[in-house]
């Protein structure tokens, strides 16, 4: 099997978040599905022979790279001690925007928050709190996000309609005045004012 196809296949596997269907592999590499399977098998053998810390698996009709089961203990520690072990205040805000404004696109969330939300959304999606629930019919067909049944379950809700009404939280005039004053706030004040969400 040509080196070019092998390298291209590896590149695709590296950037894929989910198993890539065999048919899609074949289409992207412009080879037959049988050739894809052969390529995958030789790669699997390759990785095993080189004693890599990852494996290539065929799952649900597609191919995906996984961490090697032998290394599970390290991965578990990573999950527990890594950066994704906490829900930051920023992540909670992003989740709240998805919950109240769903369906909503990545760009719309970023507009509201004024910062890039790619990695936060990814974390929330990996954890199963939010998911893609559709596509914007407009040009660009942006992915639209919404909350999942797991999210509702974690918050003890039956339905998003049970979320507290927003009117209660629309800032009143005194908050607006406070905002204006906050221009003069010191960094220390600002840190205090932002509740430490975990």
């Amino acid at each position: 099997m040509s080196n070019e196809f092998r390298r291209a296949f590896e590149a695709l596997l590296m950037v894929a978040d989910e198993p890539i269907p065999v048919s899609l592999c074949a289409q992207l590499l412009e080879i037959s599905q049988t050739a894809v399977d052969e390529l995958a098998e030789s790669l699997m053998a390759d990785y095993e022979a080189a004693d890599r810390g990852f494996v290539l698996r065929r799952v649900a009709g597609g191919y995906r790279l996984y961490s090697h089961p032998d290394m599970a203990a390290y991965v578990e520690r990573f999950v527990l001690e890594g950066q994704t072990a906490r829900l930051s205040a920023a992540a909670l805000e992003t989740l709240a925007i998805v919950a109240y404004k769903q369906p909503i696109s990545r760009g719309q969330i970023a507009e509201v928050r004024g910062v890039n939300v790619d990695s936060t959304l990814r974390t929330l999606a990996i954890r199963g709190y939010v998911a893609e629930i559709g596509r914007d019919p407009g040009p660009g067909q942006a992915v639209l996000f919404g909350t999942t049944p797991m999210f509702l379950e974690k918050l003890g809700l039956n339905d998003v309609s049970e979320l507290p009404p927003l009117a209660d939280f629309v800032p009143g005039p005194e908050v607006m005045a406070g905002l204006e004053n906050s221009l003069l706030a010191t960094p220390a004040d600002a840190a205090e004012a932002a509740p430490a969400e975990t």
Binding site: V15, T84, A85, L87, R113, R122, L183
Partner: protein, 259 residues
């Protein structure tokens, strides 16, 4: 906003001026200052909807350019005050320094763009934690209540404090431009044809000279005065063509500037 339309083409006065100077990139020094100044002023005139806050730097740059042009066109200037002369050179050097800085960052920006293009050929792995490990992962929503979520939404969607724009250097000029317009609107009809030099003669500071420029520029734009140059190397003549009721016009202007 019209401001965005303008900046889509030229991202600032220095950018615009750089563009005008190096348009005929062949021989930088053969560019005619008069042409540059005319083109620069023409560009500003297209920014009519631009509010003065945004336009201030454009106008200040224009003022320096117009003065440079005026000086260059004036023959035999033995009568010129040495302080004035030095001040103009300072203005010019400052402008050149800013143009150089602008060019430096323009080129740096292109280098960053190339770096990003190159880096963009490789895409990162984003798969994240595998399903098998999600059971081990700490519950990120543990202890989070619906009310906390609503509060988080309130924080996220609350209007952000309006960014403070430093207007310290603008504010006094704004006031003075309005004053200068008001002043000129009353003076010019009585003076008849005059020259910029005469008008600025009594100006106590550099700032007042610039403000007079800005005021004339604005009045020219509004069709209240004619600015003309009868021939090369002649003085820039200024003449009132705005009609008979200066008081009403003056009021209008002051409002315009402060609104």
């Amino acid at each position: 906003m019209p401001y965005d339309v303008v900046t889509a083409v030229f991202s600032g006065p220095f950018d615009l001026l750089l563009h005008l100077i190096s348009k005929d990139e062949v021989e930088l020094w053969e560019v005619n200052l008069s042409d540059i100044v005319d083109a620069f002023v023409a560009e500003i005139e297209q920014m009519q909807a631009l509010d003065l806050d945004v336009a201030t730097e454009f106008l200040l740059t224009a003022a320096v350019l117009i003065e440079l042009k005026t000086r260059r066109l004036l023959p035999g200037r033995t009568d010129l005050d040495l302080d004035d002369e030095l001040a103009l050179w300072e203005e010019r050097d400052l402008l050149i320094a800013r143009l150089l800085e602008c060019k430096t960052f323009k080129d740096a920006a292109q280098a960053l763009d190339r770096l990003a293009d190159r880096a963009g050929l490789a895409l990162p792995r984003t798969a994240g934690i595998e399903e098998a490990f999600l059971g081990v992962a700490p519950d990120l929503l543990a202890g989070v209540t619906p009310d906390q979520l609503a509060a988080a939404f309130g924080r996220a969607s609350a209007p952000k404090p309006v960014p403070t724009v430093d207007l310290d250097h603008v504010a006094p000029i704004r006031a003075s431009v309005a004053d200068a317009v008001a002043d000129l609107v009353t003076r010019l009809p009585r003076l008849g044809p005059t020259s910029f030099r005469q008008l600025a003669a009594g100006a106590p500071t550099r700032l007042d000279v610039i403000v007079t420029f800005l005021a004339l520029l604005e009045m020219f734009k509004q069709g209240l005065i004619e600015i003309e140059q009868s021939e090369r190397f002649a003085t820039l003549r200024v003449e009132w063509v705005g009609g008979e009721d200066p008081d009403a016009i003056a009021d209008l202007f002051v409002e315009d500037y402060q609104g």
